[in-house]
């Protein structure tokens, strides 16, 4: 394997859904790379395509109505989109694991937590039942479940929300994946529990060296978690770069607005919040041009006609805006 090869390379990924209202362009031409052990944050508001893009990588999109209409997902040199279902099943969970927002709906309520973790170990690692159980207790202890040896036989409803998310993380880690995709894993949790989970994932990442893709709408969590950030809007990456660079020096008006609308940035507690006017667009029949243009202060006639490409604005920092040189922080 060449030394320059990335662990994961997403190229021009495009996902659509065919619905009664028309074609929903959920993910449009998304490209980025992820290296071993790296942490990538993906931020955006609901409907920006951040979750669908992750599900597309995992090939968990329901087809139909969904359709991965184009692009490549190169993982360790092979295109996941070209694998057979059987081959993909060996990657999923074992190589790339995913944890979801709502741990209650992603755990099976009629099976014990332990059984659900053991299942992956038996399936992917070929363990026998006894050693799978032993490993499961180890994993639950690792993620901070007290008295794991007893709790392993509990059902999901006997766990609290934070414990369920810990169990999901244990399940995600069970086969030592090289990538963990976390889709809003703390959104349903309280802040004190969120802090526990964030610290846990950081610690585990440090220990096992896996890469993490952390999907969230919370710019605060990303700030403390990720090394690089992709900001998504209407199915596209509109800005991407090192986390410090994006927060200190955002170049896309949407990123600028998003950061500006947070209370308490740079101590501006009592002044008025900056707010982005209007609403996110409907992904059915997106008009030509930049999807953010109707809400943008910097809008020019060109923005309504041509989609701006992602261009370099700093070291490793790209933004898709025709007026990116004029954009100022608020």
């Amino acid at each position: 394997m060449a030394g320059t090869q990335h662990l994961l390379e997403v190229r021009n990924l495009t996902t659509r859904f065919h619905t009664e209202d028309g074609v929903v362009h959920a993910v449009n031409d998304v490209s980025y790379t992820l290296d071993e052990g790296d942490t990538l944050g993906v931020v955006g508001e609901s409907g920006c395509g951040k979750s669908v893009h992750a599900l597309s990588i995992m090939r968990l999109i329901q087809i139909p109505p969904g359709e991965i209409a184009g692009g490549e997902v190169i993982f360790r040199g092979q295109d996941l989109l070209k694998l057979s279902d059987d081959e993909m099943r060996k990657v999923r969970g074992a190589e790339i694991a995913m944890i979801f927002q709502d741990p209650m709906t992603s755990l099976n309520p009629v099976k014990t937590v332990g059984f659900q973790i053991m299942e992956a170990l038996i399936l992917h690692k070929g363990m026998d039942k006894a050693s799978a159980r032993e490993r499961t207790v180890e994993l639950l202890t690792l993620v901070g479940i007290p008295e794991a040896a007893q709790r392993v036989d509990d059902y999901p409803h006997q766990f609290s929300g934070g414990m369920r998310q810990r169990a999901m993380i244990a399940m995600g880690l069970s086969c030592d994946p090289s990538i963990l995709i976390a889709d809003e894993p703390t959104t349903a949790l309280d802040v004190t529990i969120q802090a526990q989970i964030v610290e846990l994932v950081k610690r585990l990442q440090h220990k096992f060296g896996m890469a993490v893709i952390w999907i969230t709408h919370d710019l605060g969590v990303i700030a403390g978690m990720a090394r690089r950030v992709n900001v998504m809007y209407a199915g596209r990456i509109i800005e991407s770069g090192p986390v410090k660079e994006i927060y200190a020096n955002p170049h896309h008006p949407y990123t600028v607005g998003l950061l500006g609308s947070l209370p308490g940035r740079s101590g501006r507690t009592s002044s008025r919040l900056f707010s982005i006017p209007g609403e996110p667009p409907d992904l059915v029949g997106l008009p030509p041009g930049c999807a953010f243009a109707p809400r943008c202060h910097y809008q020019t006639p060109r923005c309504l006609k041509e989609t701006p490409p992602l261009e370099e604005v700093g070291p490793g920092h790209i933004a898709a805006c025709w007026e990116k040189d004029k954009v100022r922080r608020v």
């Binding site: 508001e45 609901s46 007290p146 609290s160 929300g161 934070g162 414990m163 309280d190 802040v191 004190t192 529990i193 969120q194 802090a195 526990q196 964030v198 610290e199 709408h217 919370d218 710019l219 605060g220 969590v221 990303i222 700030a223 403390g224 986390v243 410090k244 927060y247 200190a248 607005g257 998003l258 950061l259 609308s261 947070l262 209370p263 308490g264 940035r265 507690t269 009592s270 008025r272 919040l273 900056f274 707010s275 982005i276 006017p277 609403e279 996110p280």
Partner: protein
């Protein structure tokens, strides 16, 4: 410990005075629905709200903040305590008297999808309070609704539309217009922005602030998002497991939190600045919230408190004023003498 919370030497007019408020939900079991215990959702809560201010009520899920709001306005019947509003004890009013009082106190809700009747037009939704209190004929109602929609930044032509035609942020504006229809003094905002996207949250918060300025409204702002509470509130009450553990003005609370729970809660909020996050030390709490059906003996926070001592597991700390206007319930936070 139900002593009244008086924030001394404050010249402001007290609009709402809550004293020793309790709301227990009974737990019943068996064929005879035997009363076996209580979920102590709100357990002896006292505070004042001054006219024209915003009081933030924060805490994690299950801490009783929503129940407090709902019990004040008597959506839930209080188990004990007094709610004095305009010289009347709301907790003692009859249902029809309470209905009159609700003209001056309104509520807006978290879920803008569940809180608007999908079969009613915006005209009907926003105009309903006027109809119920026979305050306007049909023509006047139309006019008033148009005015209210303008006030919350919606096009008056939208009044013929139905809730499903609006986005979450717009629905929240409709709910707000409805709550303003009767010119209330007090609006209880129950997580009004939690269901909205970040870019829309700022729009709604700015609108709430503008309306407060314009109409002289008083808010109780219930939320779990501490950074937004910090932005909007004048004073903040922090709740934990049915009790207020700390209450003071916004700046003091965030600069100098006294209660160990407040300290941990503030330290858990992620700061949207990678440079700060890099070096910040967090107070990580162990474990989960205990069940309000079976709260711990002594201080409610004793099971998770990093500074717990023997006394905390024995005695409940009183909620006392430790500095002028700064109240706290912790054995180890004492008034400076």
């Amino acid at each position: 410990m139900a002593e009244a919370v008086k924030t001394s030497d404050a010249p402001q007019e007290v609009l709402l005075h809550v004293e020793g408020l309790k709301k227990y939900f009974p737990i019943r079991r068996g064929v005879f629905q035997r009363h076996v215990g209580d979920v102590k959702a709100v357990d002896d809560v006292s505070f004042d709200v001054y006219r024209g201010e915003t009081l933030g009520l924060v805490g994690e899920s299950g801490c009783g903040k929503t129940t407090t709001g709902r019990t004040i306005i008597r959506i839930y019947e209080p188990t004990a305590g007094h709610v004095i509003f305009k010289d009347q004890d709301l907790a003692a009013l009859r249902a029809n008297e309470m209905r009159e009082m609700r003209r001056s106190m309104q509520m807006i809700f978290q879920d803008p999808y569940a809180s608007l009747n999908p079969r009613m037009s915006v005209l009907k939704i926003v105009g309903e309070p006027l109809e119920v209190f026979h305050l306007a004929n049909k023509e006047e109602r139309r006019e008033r609704v148009a005015h209210l929609l303008q006030l919350v930044g919606l096009n008056p032509d939208f009044m013929v539309r139905y809730p499903h035609e609006f986005s979450g942020g717009q629905r929240q504006r409709i709910g707000l217009a409805r709550s303003l229809a009767l010119n209330p003094d007090l609006i209880i905002c129950d997580e009004p922005i939690s269901a909205l996207d970040v870019s829309i949250q700022a729009q709604v918060v700015n609108l709430l602030e503008d309306l407060q300025q314009e109409l002289g409204l008083t808010y109780i702002f219930i939320a779990h998002d501490l950074s937004m509470v910090r932005h909007i509130s004048d004073r903040v009450a922090v709740m934990y497991l049915g009790k207020i553990v700390e209450l003071t003005d916004r700046d003091t609370l965030y600069a100098k939190p006294l209660h160990p729970y407040t300290q941990a809660l503030l330290s858990a909020i992620p700061v949207p600045d990678p440079v700060i996050e890099e070096t910040r030390q967090r107070i990580l709490l162990e474990g989960d919230l205990p069940s309000p059906a079976n709260p711990p003996k002594g201080c409610n926070f004793s099971t998770r408190c990093p500074q717990v001592q023997d006394i905390c597991e024995q005695e409940e700390p009183p909620f006392i004023e430790v500095e002028p206007g700064h109240l706290c319930a912790c054995h180890f936070v004492k008034p400076a003498t």
